[in-house]
């Protein structure tokens, strides 16, 4: 049953303290899933495995890494081989998992990843993991980097199983899948009271008014902005300060480039072919064995990354591949800011227009 406008009330705070509704929910999920959720480590909100409900803490701003790590892990085995037996075995590993605490931007990002990995030759590793994943969303409040409002990813009506909206005393809960509904129905929650729904509406209005960062163009106009910005001096300027560290790729919830490499076991006859995250801003990304580098400069590599977010993949899939989470700007060591760069290109593009 899908009833996105139907709210139920889950009592308790954003930390799963004893007897809180959140604790009940996590304990239910723990019965049949490996559970990952948001926690604070070294002062940063991050995702981690939740063995006990009390570890979970919901945050209003994005985690450092996104939840893509549980669907497209930083390292995963694709094959096992054994040279003595001339054997290659495909490895497709997945288990039932629940991820708790995804904000709307990250739920949109997963919807984009679903498109990518199913496109053309389907990627069984991602898709089997996705199939067994339950998503529990949580709402948020923008910081100075968030700009999902400019990309139409501020709200979600599907792509999750359960969604938790924080109100003063507890949560209002929505479900968008049979699985999610089944779990919530099991908690026997009461329907939300009209004043609670009103409180949520007020909070949503506050959220919408709280954005500081924004893009000065509509999502549909962004491909054209980037198509006409190939020769812009912006690329040289940000390329000259970029350190090529790849942080923007790593933290991005829609970056999915990867490397494939072999890891040999101590026996030397056995080993694994593994897939690891790669990044198009890293130095050797487009370099071939003969030594020719098809994207030699940091400026070219940054231009490629921005174009992938706002043009190349949009042309292919019909949606911007940036969800406005702001993680790349937060993580950048030299403060290259995705909204500032894009707005500068938008201004240049507007000037070029007759």
């Amino acid at each position: 049953m899908k009833n996105i406008e139907f709210f139920r009330y889950l009592p308790g705070a954003a930390k799963a303290k004893s007897a809180s509704g959140l604790k009940k929910l996590v304990n239910t999920l723990l019965k049949e899933h490996r559970v990952y959720g948001t926690v604070k480590r070294d002062g940063f909100p991050v995702y981690a495995e939740i063995a006990d409900a009390s570890e979970l803490e919901l945050f209003s701003t994005p985690t450092h890494l996104s939840a893509k790590q549980f669907l497209f892990p930083p390292r995963e085995t694709l094959l096992r081989y054994d040279i003595r037996r001339h054997l290659h075995e495909a490895v497709i590993e997945s288990e039932r998992q629940a991820i708790i605490g995804l904000h709307p931007c990250d739920i949109h990002a997963i919807a984009l990843m679903d498109e990518v990995w199913a496109y053309g030759r389907p990627d069984a590793n991602y898709l089997s993991r996705r199939e067994k994943t339950l998503i529990v969303g949580a709402d948020c409040m923008p910081d100075e980097y968030c700009f999902c409002k400019s990309l139409g990813t501020m709200n979600v009506n599907d792509g999750f199983d359960i969604f938790l909206h924080k109100i003063k005393k507890g949560f209002l809960v929505r479900t968008a899948s049979d699985k999610g509904e089944e779990i919530i129905a099991g908690l026997k929650l009461r329907e939300a009271k009209p004043y609670e729904v009103k409180e949520l509406e007020e909070r949503e209005r506050l959220r919408e008014a709280s954005f500081k960062a924004r893009l000065d163009a509509l999502p549909k106009d962004l491909p054209e902005v980037f198509a006409s910005s190939n020769e812009s001096t912006v690329w040289e300027r940000i390329g000259s300060i970029c350190t090529g560290c790849g942080s923007c790729n790593t933290v991005c919830p829609t970056c999915y480039c990867f490397d494939i490499k072999d890891e040999v076991k101590a026996s030397l006859s056995e080993g694994e072919r593994v897939r690891v995250w790669d990044g198009c801003t890293l130095e050797d990304f487009a370099k071939v064995a003969g030594g020719h580098d098809f994207r030699k400069t940091r400026a070219e590599r940054l231009r490629h990354r921005f174009n992938r977010k706002f043009r190349y993949l949009t042309d292919r899939f019909g949606m911007p591949f940036c969800v406005g989470c702001g993680r790349c700007s937060r993580a950048c060591l030299v403060k290259i800011n995705i909204t500032e760069v894009t707005n500068e290109l938008i201004r240049e593009s507007n000037k070029r227009r007759p």
Partner: protein, 282 residues
């Protein structure tokens, strides 16, 4: 005996599972290149077109994209001419007859042979670019009367680095004009000296019925394409094959991208006119 196992419960197929081929022959071509004849245990791997490539792997070393150099449908084997330049290709050079290699593919687009029928075709190859060109030349020569004038312009650094030179007389005998050029001649070289573009003016071009195919190192394309424009060959009638780094072969890993285009899917063979909106291509 099953050597490639898809062990998933749901019957999902991994696009990363390679299939075995047995090396039937290894021939030294030059100091850097060897020619491998490979018989795949799974015969469906032999269904390839000229211009396509395999991901060729060795456990412990990884995979590399390698162009097919034999003509399709010739035998129960196919040929790869491999230059030892990287980790995987150097390891492949140590293999002998009877050893296994692991294959995924064939991947990518083929040269549109049907479109070349009854036309004149100029094949322009530089260096190792002659490797995929040989697959196309063999395809075309198998049905020689189906095509007009055929010319190969092939340039190498030095006479020793010229690949397949022992096959040129056979190709000439079948009706392919072979024009050769060398960057650094030795004392015995009596032919043309200079880059491949020095030979293009010598080719007679029938306007509107000539197709050009260009494969070579990145630096070559720009100059060759300018010469072809002088010859009034339209960009619609020019085909190129482009090299890029590749990891997955299935349009996901991102390494082979030229702007928004995946070379492993939409290439490596491109019509020149289709590259006009891809500034990263040439």
């Amino acid at each position: 005996m099953s050597l490639s196992v898809n062990q998933t419960k749901e019957g999902l197929e991994s696009p990363y599972l390679p299939f075995p081929g047995v090396i039937e022959r290894v021939t030294r071509v030059t100091e850097k290149e060897r020619l491998f004849s490979i018989a795949p245990l799974n015969p469906s791997l032999l269904e390839y077109g000229p211009g396509q490539f395999y991901m060729v792997g060795l456990p412990g070393y990884g995979e590399a994209p390698i162009s097919i150099t034999s003509g399709p449908g010739e035998t129960k084997e196919f040929e790869l001419c491999i230059r030892a330049v990287g980790n995987v290709t150097n390891a492949l050079h140590r293999l002998k007859r009877g050893d296994f290699v692991w294959l995924r593919g064939p991947f990518g687009t083929s040269f549109p042979v049907d479109e070349m029928r009854s036309k004149d075709v100029v094949f322009i190859a530089g260096g190792i670019g002659v490797v995929p060109m040989r697959s196309l030349i063999k395809t075309v020569l198998k049905d020689r009367q189906g095509f007009g004038r055929l010319t190969l312009i092939y340039g190498a650094k030095s006479p020793e680095e010229m690949l397949f030179s022992e096959e040129f007389d056979g190709w000439r005998g079948k009706g392919l004009e072979v024009l050769l050029t060398i960057d650094k001649p030795d004392t015995k070289w009596t032919g043309n000296v200079g880059v491949v573009t020095t030979l293009i003016p010598k080719v007679e071009v029938a306007e509107g019925r000539t197709i050009a195919v260009v494969i070579g190192p990145p630096v070559m394309y720009k100059f060759v394409i300018l010469s072809l424009r002088d010859k009034l060959i339209r960009p619609e009638d020019v085909f190129v094959s482009l090299e890029r780094r590749m990891k997955c072969g299935v349009g996901k890993c991102g390494h082979c991208q030229i702007n928004g285009c995946y070379v492993c899917q939409e290439g490596p063979v491109f019509r020149l006119s289709d590259l006009k909106d891809l500034p990263e291509a040439l």
